[in-house]
């Protein structure tokens, strides 16, 4: 196995000079949909769906082109224009199409197109549907900018763009105060992460004079250990914010206020994976600093446990899936932190997770659609017989996520657990336990939603969703099943040159069975069994049952993440603001008003001299004469 230090980009040929179409087409579509106004209400969604499909076709063409090339030419650099040119220093905007970014582009445009199709049906009764599609297109454009950029600055432009799109889409139903607050919360917490990323970019500019991947990759080995560790930590902070890792995880569950397609696209498949992309793209930096890499792994581990914990206690189907997303991204971060061996596994899991999580979110949306937009699982039950297509596609996603052999999640997750175990047994053990917990809460979800007896409210008649909604479900369920088998043999070899990873010895589509794999399987079965014992045999209560179980209480309160943020950051921040306001009104305003009051007081005192009596004025004059004369005499001037 050879350790390659990344690919040297080559000049664009063939279709590559038009790679910018990937980004521009959705962007123009978004602009048209926003600017056309109500006139576009009747056809806006069609244009909005067409744009990502066009991008997907272009991405597919570029992918095919790359596949046909020899390995050394797998990275293509497409410079677009010069952004800043000041004398000796210049920064340009360009695209880098390499194995990593093309996979992301395919995921984004592919899954994105399916979700766009789904949204035509899901948002059919919403008056703001055109605006929704405009925002979705804008998101696609920004996310593509993020993954296709060839330097960190343009990546940051995409980063901010997806943050904006996330805010717009979470608070899409602006009239709901909870939605507006959730949007703000997401934006603010993301800002904290953005601080880390901007500081990292500044450091790069200071150290290397450029933030392009080439310059950073070349200069990483020349930095002092302290600086490179700092850089790694700053990038980690940025990744935590965008990917909802601990400690910046509090926004993800609130983000479920947005429409379900948003949750599927942004908060499951693509945006939240931007952090993982950032870490893997900065592989050259993490290769130099084991401390930062370990920090990444620890963050990932803590998050995967936290997400699983939260997922066990929630009754809102979308919040369970959100906790699950948090947990799975934790797996990806763990893999990214382990090192070059595990980079391909992180991306592999990212792709499979994109498929099955988007599948499950869209399925949840379909369930909600049939249950009059009720998200509380305690009102579901027995839907397997009524919504068959939704049930079977959801089942595929469920089997994938818990790691059933031959399903996609099995390959990716097991690879991560094995790599973690080899690197650091503690991390591996924790990842193993979390796999069991994942199985537990996903089975709980299945029981509460599809398998148990009916607990439907009055007047609710669940029915299957229209074709425009279940066709994307089916199209996503298929990769949930087979993507693992298809990609396992190939992905490590494809990605390794780009991310400095190691090419495995004998890749194949057969599962790589080891001791860890068997143990994982046993743990998973145990989790399923526990869930069956608790939820499968007894009826599920319709209201939230009282519990003294400490773990359940903590889980129901989101691990007290909000309370912690409030106590540690918000309250001191509020006190600081109050103090600053007090200083402003007391000291600054006080000084201003005080000077005014002083002038007034002085005036008020001095005006008493003008009492109107001529005699007083005469006295003043004479006293003045005497004083002046005395001064002259004493000064010997006279």
């Amino acid at each position: 196995m050879t350790l390659l230090e990344g690919l040297t980009p080559v000049a664009p040929t063939g279709l590559f000079p038009y790679a910018w179409l990937l980004i521009v087409v959705p962007l123009v579509s978004a602009a048209i949909l926003l600017l056309a106004g109500k006139a576009a209400n009747s056809w806006g969604h069609y244009l909005g769906t067409l744009a990502p499909i066009v991008s997907f076709v272009v991405a597919l063409a570029l992918f095919a082109d790359l596949l046909g090339r020899p390995e050394a030419q797998h990275a293509v650099s497409v410079p677009l224009y010069t952004w800043i040119a000041t004398g000796s220093w210049s920064m340009g905007v360009g695209l880098l199409i390499d194995p990593l970014s093309i996979l992301f582009a395919l995921l984004i445009t592919g899954v994105g197109s399916l979700i766009h199709v789904y949204s035509i049906g899901y948002m059919a009764h919403d008056p703001g549907r055109r605006r929704f599609f405009a925002y979705l297109n804008f998101f696609i454009a920004a996310m593509l900018t993020l993954v296709l950029a060839d330097n960190y600055a343009v990546l940051f432009v995409g980063w901010e763009g997806v943050g904006l799109a996330s805010y717009l889409l979470i608070s899409f139903w602006q009239h709901k105060p909870t939605a507006a607050t959730a949007g703000k919360k997401a934006f603010v917490v993301n800002r904290v992460g953005d601080l880390g990323l901007t500081m990292a970019i500044f450091t790069m500019l200071a150290m290397f004079g450029s933030s392009s991947f080439d310059a950073v990759n070349a200069g990483a080995s020349k930095m002092s250990p302290a600086w490179v560790t700092l850089l790694g930590m700053l990038l980690l902070v940025g990744a935590c914010g965008k990917s909802a890792q601990v400690p910046l995880q509090s926004w993800l569950l609130d983000a479920m206020e947005g429409p379900t397609p948003v949750s599927a696209l942004i908060h499951a498949a693509t945006m939240v994976t931007a952090g993982v992309y950032l870490v893997i793209r900065s592989h050259a930096i993490y290769a130099q600093t084991s401390a930062a890499a370990l920090a990444v792994a620890i963050v990932g581990t803590v998050t995967l446990l936290a997400g699983a914990w939260i997922g066990t206690s929630k009754d809102d189907i979308k919040k369970v899936l959100a906790g699950s997303t948090m947990s799975q991204i934790g797996y990806m971060m763990l893999a990214a932190g382990i090192g070059p061996i595990a980079y391909p596994f992180a991306i592999f899991h990212l792709l499979t997770h994109g498929f099955f999580k988007a599948n499950m979110f869209l399925g949840a949306g379909s369930v909600m659609h049939g249950m009059n937009d009720d998200v509380n699982m305690r009102h579901y039950g027995g839907l397997a017989k009524v919504m068959k297509i939704t049930y079977y596609t959801f089942l595929m996603g469920y089997l994938a996520i818990i790691g059933t052999p031959f399903f996609s999640g099995f390959y990716s997750k097991d690879s991560i657990i094995e790599a973690a175990w080899e690197k650091q047994p503690v991390l591996g053990a924790l990842a193993l336990i979390a796999a069991g917990i994942t199985a537990f809460y996903m089975t709980r979800l299945m029981f509460m939603t599809f398998w148990s007896s009916k607990r439907w409210a009055e007047g609710v008649h669940p029915h299957e969703s229209p074709a425009v909604m279940w066709v994307p479900l089916v199209l996503l369920a298929i990769p949930s099943v087979i993507a693992g088998m298809v990609m396992n043999a190939w992905i490590a070899g494809w990605l390794a040159p780009a991310v400095g990873g190691e090419v495995p010895a004998n890749p194949s589509w057969l599962p790589h069975l080891s001791l860890i794999g068997v143990v994982t399987l046993v743990v998973v079965i145990a989790g399923v069994g526990v869930a069956y014992l608790i939820f499968g045999r007894t009826s599920i209560p319709e209201s939230v049952p009282f519990t003294r179980n400490v773990f359940t209480i903590i889980g129901r309160h989101d691990l007290y993440g909000d309370a912690f943020n409030e106590a540690v950051f918000m309250k001191p921040g509020e006190a600081l603001t109050r103090g600053v306001v007090a200083v402003d009104s007391g000291v600054v305003d006080g000084a201003v008003r005080g000077s005014g009051a002083l002038a007034l007081g002085l005036g008020g005192g001095l005006r008493k001299l003008q009492n109107g009596y001529v005699r007083s004025y005469g006295l003043t004059m004479i006293v003045g004469v005497i004083v002046v004369a005395l001064a002259l005499i004493i000064g010997r001037l006279v």
């Binding site: 009492n611 009596y613 005699r615 007083s616 006295l619 004479i622 006293v623 004469v625 005497i626 004369a629 005395l630 005499i633 006279v638």
Partner: protein, 272 residues
Amino acid sequence: MTALLVPLVTGAAVAYWICGPIMVAAAVAMILSRKAVYSALYLALVMVNLAIIYASQDAPFLFVVQIIVYTGAVMMLFLFVVMLIGVDTRGTLVEKVKGHTVTSVIAGIGGFILLAIAIGRGLVGPAIGVEAANQTYGGNVQGLAALLFGRYVLAFEATSALLITAAVGAMVLANVERLTPKFDQTARAKARIEDYATRGAHPGPRPSSGVFARHNSITSPALLPDGSVSPDSVSAVLVQRSGLADAVALAAPAKEAFAALDVAQGEDEEEL
């Protein structure tokens, strides 16, 4: 003995030591007295004493001018105005502005010290005396005249213009403009005729009091041609005081006399 005394005590010194204290006392009394008349008189006293000191300083012309012009004209003018304005008003020495009196006294003392020091510094060397200057033109008056019409003729002319201006100014200031037109003879006559036209008031004078054989005082009422008493003929005040005299009784003696005469004339005519 006297030969020793004479050079030590000159007439100027005597004049100074007598007039000086009197002046100071009079000045203090002037500013302290409540009645303005007293103040004016005390000031006159100060001025007369000053005149004496001028005389002792070999300035006879000023001595006379001081008394005639200053004391005699200016102070009398003051006295006239005091009498016009209120010779009875008693000024109060209560001070409304806080601390004014104390500060004024201190200012006065300060002014005194200042003047004494400042002007005293101007005295360098012994006094030359004006005897020589007085002899230049054969006398003090002549010397002053030579200066006035010689070196200071411009100032002199300007001063005379100033005097004229002052006199004219005084006349202008004292000229009070009428706010209403003057009610003169013509206006009075017009008003009377208008009263007659509107109210029927009698335009002419009132009838004078009656003249009878034995009484013609102003309390006697007059008789109108028809024999009735005119009520306007006696002043209302007199009527109020002592009532209207009986005109019939007053006219009775004359009527009796005429009646007796008629009788006598009738007898005479019958005799003829």
